[in-house]
């Protein structure tokens, strides 16, 4: 339907991008491809390479190998100021000696636009990001939330082919952050701006992204829609990184019946097909806090040996219960309904969960 031939091409295409700093591998063969108007989150702990990848896309760093194409145009040898990708920096990097309007106009002058276009564009951005009335203030004279809006306005003013957000919400306090995330999500979808956001905050990734790429030690471990990566994590790392996940050490006691010993006299029974278990093998059982519930009697999975409630915390909409299983602990989070039976510290309880929601794997190599 579109006459623009580039519309069928991926907006951004990274192929096998790698980067080393001396002997340290920062990125290892990262590939991804984005559609126009898509919002992609690079999610991972600090040092996973997500910021390096962003800097390579912006042109502040060069990749050792691999190719970067934006709307079919190779960016590998294009200097940063000719890339047409706009970045919102973690500290916003607003020009302190320029007013809000001058900051927004900064990228317009090098584009040789006429004065009328420039002032129209400034006006449009002021309206779009609700900055009217602040145009002649200096960055030091506006609030943190407004500063972020100025940074966004300055980036969007140049009508970039792609927007990059580098931990752009981390300087805001929680309420403001969630408000801005909602607003920005609506704005970006309305403007159809292809966006990559880098974050270590999974809530932020879930709040904004159409797809999430989970990164770990320079690799993209999984890429997919938020629900997909949450419900079908491709690796233990992805599982552990998303949501809050319990990890229990266990020893396989009977492989045919899938009995795992968590501690002396305390066992879980899994359907035999749940995992290929070898007797005497050490395994980890991963299960999300919201997938576990409590029972007062042995259940289909928790067959013998009660756990002891050691902490009950009320969190508003949720309650958190910590159950001790021998020396190990399981954290349970469930809606705090008043109909829940009251559970006191020291109560003997059993766990109930769907074995399908568990992941049984060889323990990660201790690092």
């Amino acid at each position: 339907m579109s006459t623009d031939p580039s519309a069928s091409l991926p907006e951004l295409d990274l192929a096998a991008v790698s980067k080393r700093y001396g002997s340290v591998v920062a990125l290892e063969s990262c590939s991804l491809s984005m559609k126009r108007g898509e919002i992609l989150a690079l999610l991972g702990p600090s040092g996973c390479g997500k910021s390096t990848l962003l800097n390579i896309i912006a042109g502040f760093e060069t990749s050792d190998t691999g190719s970067i194409r934006l709307r079919g145009r190779s960016l590998n040898d294009v200097p940063p100021h000719r890339r047409d990708v706009a970045m919102v920096f973690q500290n916003y990097a607003l020009f302190p000696h320029m007013t809000v309007a001058e900051n927004i106009a900064y990228g317009l002058y090098p584009r040789r636009l006429n004065a009328a276009t420039i002032s129209a564009r400034i006006d449009e951005m002021l309206a779009l990001l609700k900055l009217r009335g602040l145009e002649s203030r200096y960055p030091a004279q506006v609030s943190g939330g407004q500063r972020q809006r100025v940074a966004l306005a300055r980036a969007l003013a140049i009508q970039p082919q792609m927007l990059l957000l580098d931990e752009a919400f981390s300087a805001l306090d929680r309420n403001l952050r969630e408000e801005m995330q909602l607003e920005l999500s609506l704005l970006l979808h309305r403007l159809q701006v292809s966006t990559i956001l880098v974050t270590h905050d999974q809530r932020e990734a879930f709040a904004l992204a159409d797809r999430i790429a989970v990164m770990e030690t320079g690799r993209i471990s999984q890429i997919g829609a938020p629900r997909e990566i949450y419900e079908q994590p491709a690796s233990d790392h992805v599982l552990q990184f998303l949501g809050t996940t319990n990890a229990l050490d266990a020893i396989v006691e009977a492989e045919a019946t899938g009995i795992l010993r968590i501690s002396d006299g305390l066992t879980f029974a899994f359907p035999p097909q749940a995992a290929s278990l070898k007797r005497g093998e050490r395994v980890n059982v991963y299960i999300r806090t919201e997938d576990v519930d409590l029972a007062l009697h042995p259940t289909a999975v928790h067959t013998s040996g009660a756990g002891i409630v050691s902490l009950v915390t009320f969190l508003g909409a949720q309650e958190r219960i910590v159950v001790s299983l021998g020396v190990q602990q399981v954290v349970i989070e469930r809606p705090s309904r008043s109909t829940n039976p009251q559970i006191a510290n020291g109560a003997a309880v059993f766990l109930d969960f769907d074995p399908a929601k568990c992941r049984i794997a060889a323990p990660a190599v201790p690092s």
């Binding site: 502040f60 940063p80 890339r83 500290n91 990228g107 090098p110 200096y138």
Partner: protein
Amino acid sequence: MKLSRYAPWLWLLPAGALLIPFFLIPLGVVVRDSVYREDPVRFLLPDFTFASYARVLGDRYYLAVFGNTLLIALVISVTALIIALPFAQYVARRTGRQRALLLWIIYLPLYVSVIMRAFGWMVITADSGLINNALMSLGLIGQPIKLLYEVEGMTLAMLHRYLPLMIIPIVTTLQQLDGDLLKASANLGGSRWYGWRRIVLPMAIPGMVAGTQLVFAGVLSDYVLPSLTGTTRFAMVAPVIFYEAATNSAWATASAMGTLVLAVVALFLIISSLAVRRLMPWQRAVR
């Protein structure tokens, strides 16, 4: 309770103990002498008069001396600024050892007595000095260029003396420049030149003004280098003041000239500070 109100001022006591008797009082004496009457026998008579000012400002010789000095101060300030800005930018971008080494090179001349440096420049700029010998042996000139005891040699020596005072404040301001600002500039499509013009240059203004103030005031009151490397055919104000006071015993005239230099420096500081306020309205926003 009562002590705590005055306690912050106690920190100023050592500086005050030095400045008040040894700086402010002599300064007051100079200003007072400038309005006393000159007397051939008793040198100064306590008699209020602007006669010395009238003499200094009405005499073409004295006016030429002030003109010479202001011209040299201007030339050295501008030259120092042109040399210092790229150099400071280079230093500010270095890190670790390299920066320490470069800063040390800047500071090095300040560790050496100005007399030693003056003699050094005399060796370099003399008729049979380093520069002339080199140029002559290369066959570029037939006979020595007059440098020493000329305006040229003196300007060179003074430029060397005051250059560090221009570089250091600029390095300090440029070091405070957030590197992300230049990244942001490039990211928004700004070339290096555009980023330099719109970010580096305006942000360096406080350092440039501070450096110019130091250099300008320094050149205006320099005595040693004009005396040792300059010429009486292009007299500078500080040696002339010394001559009036020590040789002519014209203390009122000398005091009036000294007070005028002080006024020029004060005026310059006020004007340049006002200029900073005009050029950098954002500075007020930060505070």
